[in-house]
Symmetry: C2
Subunit: 342 residues, 2 copies
C-alpha cells in the first residue's frame, strides 16, 4: 500500500502501533502535535517539529524569505501555545539548493528569530544540507510548561462548550487573494487576510492564560481546520461535538473575499485551516469567566462555536437553517499525503 | 553571493554572527554539532539534528530502509556520544513522496528504533509531510549529560596527544565497494566495510567513559573526516595540530580495497569521513591510562594519531617519508554545499 492511501493520520497511527510502549516519563508521545517529556517534578519539556516543503507548503514567488521565517516560527510557537507552554529553544534544519542567494538565508533567519524572540525563544542549532531541487525547512521547537498548566486534547467532557479565539477563515481567504490577485476587493481586506495567511500571529499569551486559569478542559490550535482539529479533541477525549455554523467568528474581510470569489465563507471557517487560533473546551459555567480573563489580559475575544456531546453522536455541523450534517469517522481535516481538503 | 560559494561552515558563521547573543543558559549554541542547554544545576540538555537528503546523502538502491533508519539514528547518537552524553528522546521529521510504500516507512522506523533503543532513547514525535521528489529525513535527538562529564571541542591544549577510537577509512572503503561492485576483493573485506558505511556503530559507551574519566580535554566524532574534525577542535581551542600518517589506524580490509581500486588508503583515513569514531585530546601522561580504561570497559582500542601544537603552526600532516603538508586556514573537510571532498 502507498502512504497516500493510508493518509497522514493513518500512517502516524501505524508508526505508533509498531513502536514499543514509551516509558512513563513520556507524558505525551507520538500522535500529538507536541511531545510532553518529564524533565523534573516541577517542569515538563515540550518538543515539536514542523516541516515546510517548497511547492507543497509555500512558493518562493508568493512569500518573502522573511515572511517564510516568521511563518515557520509562528506555526511551531502556536503548537507550544496549545499546550499552555512557553517556547524555549529552537533548532533549524535546512536543506537548500546550492544556487540559493545568501540574502535569502539571512532574511529567513531574521524572520524566524524575530517571531521566536517575541515568544521568548532562541535559535541554538540545527543542520544545513544541500538539496538539488525544492528546499525543505524543518524547525524543531522546544518549550516548557509547569505540569499543573499543561493542557491536552484529551480532557474534553460531555456538556462542555467549544470556544475559539479570534477569527476563522482569514487564512484561507488570504490564500485566495494570493492565488487570484485579480479579485476586485478592498485594499484593507486584502492586506488583512494576506497577513493572516503569510505571517499568522500565534496565540501564545492566550494559551498561557488558558493553561494557568485552571478552567479549560482541552486545548488545540487550529492548524488543520476547525473540523479537523475538533476531531482531534473528540478522538483523544472519546466524545462527540456539535459545531454551530451561525456562531462561527468570521471577519468582514473574509466574507467580502468569499463573496467576490464565489466561495462559501463558512466552509473556509470550518475546513480552511492554518488560522492558528486556539480551540478549547470548558464547562458552560466557566466559559464567560474565561472570555473575561482572555479579553482583559490579552485583548483577545473568544467565541462559543459549539458543544461537546456523547461520543456516539459523532461530529455534527449544525447549519443556520437547522440542518445537521454528521461527519463520518474517516474525516480528519487536512491530510498532508492526500493533499486534499474536504 | 550563492550559498555554495560561502560553503557550509561560512554560512553557519554568517548565521551565528547575525543572531543575537544567546542567554547564559545556552552553554553551547550555533556552530557546534550539538547544542548544550542548562535545564538544571545538575543536568544539561543536549540537542542535535541531522538531515539526510535522498540522492545527496543516500540512494534508495544502495541502502535498505531498515539500514537507512539505523544509519540516521547512529549519526545522531554519535553526536551525543561526542559530548559524553546519553541519548534520551528523538523526533523524526519525514518529507516523503506520496507513492512511497508503507513497508518502506515501517522498516525505516524499525531501523531508527532499534539503533535508538540500543542507545537508550525513544521516538516521541516528529512530523510527516509530502514532498514531490526526493525524500528528506530529519532526525532530531535530545540527550542529557551531567555538567562535570560534558566534553567540548574547545578544551585542547598545546602538547596534548590526539587519539582516535577504532579504525579510519572503512566507511570510505565501503562507499567504494558499493559504487564499484565489480572490484575483485575478498567477501569478508567487502562485507566489513559495507556494514561500516551503511550501519556505522556509534561509540556511545566510549564517549561516556571519556566524559566521566576526567582525563580528556576535547572530543568530537569523526563525521567530516579526521582532518576536518581535528580542524574543528583546533579552531575552537585556538591551537594547531600535527597528524602522523604512519600512526593512522587502518584496517586490512580498507587497505585491500584501496589497493584494488587504485586509491591511497591514507587519504581515505584522513578525509574519507563518516567513520563515526571518536577523536579526542589528552595530556601525554594520561593517554595510556585512557587507552586502558577504554579497552577494559568497552573493548575498544584507541590509537595516538598526532599531537596538539601552537595555533601559529596550523594543521600539519606528517607523511611517513618525513614530508610535512601544511593545510591553509580555508580547509574545512566535508562541505555540504560545495559537495566536494578535499
Amino acid at each position: 500500500m502507498q502512504i497516500s492511501q493510508l493518509g497522514e493520520f493513518g500512517l502516524i497511527q501505524r508508526i505508533k502501533t509498531a513502536l514499543p510502549q514509551p516509558p512513563p516519563e513520556v507524558i505525551v508521545g507520538i500522535g500529538d502535535d507536541v511531545a510532553v517529556l518529564k524533565i523534573s517534578d516541577s517542569e515538563y519539556l515540550l518538543a515539536t517539529c514542523d516541516v515546510q516543503v517548497e511547492k507543497v507548503h509555500f512558493s518562493r514567488t508568493a512569500i518573502s524569505p522573511y515572511q517564510l521565517g516568521r511563518r515557520i516560527a509562528a506555526i511551531n510557537v502556536s503548537d507550544i501555545a496549545a499546550m499552555g507552554g512557553s517556547p524555549w529553544w529552537a533548532l533549524a534544519s535546512l536543506a537548500l539548493p546550492p544556487e540559493l542567494e545568501t540574502e535569502f538565508v539571512d532574511a529567513l533567519y531574521e524572520g524566524m528569530q524575530e517571531q521566536l524572540g517575541i515568544a521568548g525563544a532562541v535559535i541554538v542549532g540545527g543542520n544545513l544540507s544541500r538539496i538539488d531541487k525544492d528546499m525543505v525547512i524543518d524547525l524543531c521547537l522546544l518549550g516548557k510548561v509547569a505540569p499543573e498548566n499543561l493542557l491536552l486534547r484529551s480532557g474534553a467532557r460531555r456538556g462542555d462548550l467549544i470556544l475559539v479565539t479570534g477569527w476563522l477563515g482569514d487564512s484561507r481567504a488570504g490564500l485566495e487573494v494570493i492565488r487570484r490577485p485579480e479579485l476586485s476587493i478592498s485594499h484593507k481586506g486584502r492586506r488583512q487576510v494576506e497577513q493572516r495567511h503569510l505571517t499568522p500571529q500565534p496565540r501564545l499569551r492566550e494559551g498561557q492564560e488558558l493553561g494557568s486559569c485552571g478552567l479549560v478542559h482541552a486545548l488545540v490550535d487550529v492548524s488543520d481546520g476547525l473540523l479537523g482539529d475538533i476531531r482531534h479533541i473528540c478522538r483523544a477525549s472519546r466524545v462527540g461535538a456539535e459545531i454551530w455554523v451561525g456562531n462561527l467568528p468570521i471577519s468582514s474581510a473574509a466574507k467580502e473575499i468569499a463573496h467576490a470569489s464565489g466561495h462559501n465563507v463558512s466552509d473556509w471557517a470550518l475546513v480552511g485551516g492554518e488560522d492558528y487560533e486556539l480551540l478549547f473546551t470548558a464547562s458552560p459555567e466557566s466559559s464567560a469567566q474565561i472570555q473575561g480573563i482572555l479579553g482583559e489580559r490579552t485583548g483577545t475575544w473568544c467565541h462559543v462555536v459549539g458543544r461537546i456531546v456523547d461520543e456516539a453522536e459523532g461530529l455534527q455541523v449544525c447549519l443556520e437553517n437547522g440542518t445537521k450534517i454528521v461527519f463520518s469517522e474517516g474525516f480528519a481535516g487536512w491530510d498532508h499525503f492526500a493533499g486534499e481538503k474536504l
